[in-house]
Symmetry: C2
């Protein structure tokens, strides 16, 4: 893509009300635009990253047997009354249709939709298990929308719902999902800092699990077990106040009491719903003996915008973002200096022909300094510079955004460098 | 995909309140589920068709220079007040955030968002033209939500916005978009019945254009010019009542008065917005002489759900849907009869290995009659049957859903038949 045609250009300053590094950098570099508190537009660069994250998640969900659907955002009051959540769900946007006079909610989650949907089709044990997921917009009337795209009033989520004949089957799938989530966070470049975290299971499960990524920009406190590597949400473990029943006295995995406090951001959660939603909606199946039983459910969420923000938060320096190759908007940022557009255009075409995604800074009115600063800010993994100096040697200067390593290479070596991932 | 694992199964009856053929068939065949009036879930089969339509549209938009973004559904009242549409836009869902007390709208369109967004970045003539599009959920508080997914309260749209330095450039791009839209409707299998239709341009353009597909299930009346093949919306042409200024006395393209009345459904529209939205938001650019001028805009919409419904409406018979190959959920519907699952499983694997999308009816508890009826209802272009009779000849029976033609072929010929499109 030609940078001269890229909307919008980068900005020197971030809005003053944005405090987190990721939001400030994402806005300055032109990945997102803030429409109002907690509501953002994904601009061309941000949209590309979002799609890459979406595809990483989709691939893992499909590997785990997930089949994609798309449920609506508009949801009828009746469904939320059936689960008692119309009154109790804290951040539900509610309103009335002017024409139909019906009361509606904007979906913050979809248990109230998918459970009665599954219940429409006389299920037998032969139909179970099945797994449905969607990647879709969610809405929450947040008390304090903050941290840029980390906690939005409108945000994109992947939510998968699993349907089982028994708890053992749910348990097996739940473990499979843990592995899927680990793969996703590994692929997205935050695996090393992301921990499986024990959290409250509510009144119907002992625990649920979160995936928490360690960062100063996090809103949660977690306790990391130095012995076995799992973590515990402060919701169920607070060393000083072991008063509640759900509190645990040590690591729920290994019993160790060597727990270290860390700030983290929740990037995913998985939950054994069991019959919490199948019961109120009469979601049953017929077992081998012809008996009707409640379907056992699980749900598994990942916020895509939050993941995008987290990736930027833990992969940046003071000059800008450092995208992992797997989610970078482009593989190469090609910079032409000093009007050598003919030769550089040729390199651009050659890279594109080979299927390499290139952002080509062809701007005639930008100085080399501006181009270098923009490249650092936008954070594409490889910067390739074509100047009189490099061309005199028949070469291109290539810089690795992450390591800072600079090399002079010929076109063939350039191709090799940008296609062999070292992430 | 294994049909035994496909959610949900087909249904013998459609809901009584669904009157259009497309909605009845799409629901019975398990492509969509109705949550409430005008609000639907895309089930696995429907989601696959939706994605194919999305990709056809995306490809054409990118060919025309469009760059993809994603704008939010939540929109602030201020933006809609600036254009005067907070009070006048008939079907705007409006509500108040409980926490922030701000008044919000659910976006039925995005001129109120993209115009001020573009205006944030001191544009110069060098930045123009540019074209931004999104494929995103829209909301309209419809007086009468009806015709299944044809007129929803929540629906997916592609909307592209173009930004130009002058009207000539807008005119050129507008013609380009006409060609793009023609390609889209051709590829989606409704090209022959879809007509470029003159419609009202409002107070600021002589005409806008719609793309109208002829069908009894349509809600609009159009007048088709038998001489030149364009059409005119009844909004601007009513033979009996030539009273208004905007009415035209004959075909606006060739002047002919041979106009034939037809019922049609609008599947797309394109509009020269000119400065209607750039003015209220101060969206300007600096021209070659350093002077500030209003940016000239155009907008171009296609409703994906409506297109999907239209495709099903004009491609069906009394047994079910007849999907064009380009948007079919699968290329082949493989049916095994009489427990020959080993051989059939092998064929299934072989087809899949070659990248062919197969729905494999592996159900053990369904009769041949049920399998045949489901195949006709779901409407995948090729049905391939493996039975004792066909296997005795080392063959598979292949049936073309559209032509009804049946052939006995070997595996190699099967592969050839389903990959060489005759659409």
């Amino acid at each position: 893509m030609l940078q001269s045609k890229l909307f919008p250009r980068t900005q020197k300053e971030a809005p003053k009300d944005e405090v987190s590094a990721n939001a400030r950098l994402l806005i300055r570099a032109g990945f997102i635009d803030k429409l109002m508190a907690g509501v953002y537009t994904y601009l061309p660069l941000g949209f590309r990253v979002l799609k890459k994250i979406e595809n990483i998640i989709r691939e893992e969900m499909e590997k785990a047997g997930g089949v994609e659907i798309l449920m609506p955002s508009l949801q009828p009051k009746e469904n939320w009354e059936k689960t008692g959540r119309w009154e109790t769900y804290d951040s539900l946007f509610k309103f009335v249709s002017y024409y139909s006079k019906t009361e509606l909610a904007l979906g913050p989650t979809h248990e109230e939709i998918i459970s009665p949907l599954a219940g429409k089709f006389n299920l037998s044990y032969k139909n179970l298990p099945f797994y449905l997921f969607q990647i879709q917009n969610k809405f929450r009337d947040e008390k304090r929308a903050k941290s840029g795209i980390m906690r939005g009033r409108e945000f994109i989520m992947k939510d998968l719902y699993s349907f089982h004949a028994g708890e053992n089957d749910l348990d097996d799938y739940y473990e499979k999902m843990k592995a899927c989530y680990k793969n996703i966070f590994d692929k997205a470049g935050i695996g090393e800092k992301t921990y499986l975290t024990f959290a409250s299971g509510g009144s119907f499960s002992k625990y649920s699990h979160e995936f928490q990524t360690i960062t100063d920009a996090g809103e949660d406190i977690i306790y990391l077990c130095e012995k076995c590597g799992v973590a515990i949400n402060s919701e169920i473990f607070q060393p000083a106040t072991l008063t509640s029943d759900v509190n645990v006295a040590g690591c729920p995995e290994c019993g160790s009491k060597n727990l270290v406090e860390k700030k983290a951001i929740e990037v995913g959660n998985i939950f054994k719903l069991k019959t919490k939603y199948s019961e109120p909606f009469g979601l049953k199946f017929t077992d081998e003996n012809g008996e009707e039983k409640d379907v056992i459910m699980g749900c598994y969420g990942i916020g895509l915008g939050r993941l995008l923000g987290t990736i930027a938060e833990i992969n940046h320096d003071d000059k800008g973002i450092i995208w992992p190759e797997s989610v970078a908007p482009f593989a190469v940022h090609l910079l032409v200096l000093g009007g050598l557009t003919a030769k550089c255009g040729e390199i651009y075409e050659n890279l594109q022909k080979r299927g390499i995604e290139v952002l080509y800074d062809d701007r005639e009115d930008a100085s080399p300094g501006e181009k270098f600063a923009d490249a650092d800010l936008i954070g594409i993994p490889y910067r390739a510079v074509v100047s009189e100096k490099t061309l005199a040697q028949g070469k291109v200067e290539i810089k690795n955004r992450k390591t800072g390593e600079i090399k002079l290479v010929n076109e063939k070596e350039l191709l090799k460098a940008v296609t062999s991932s070292d992430d």
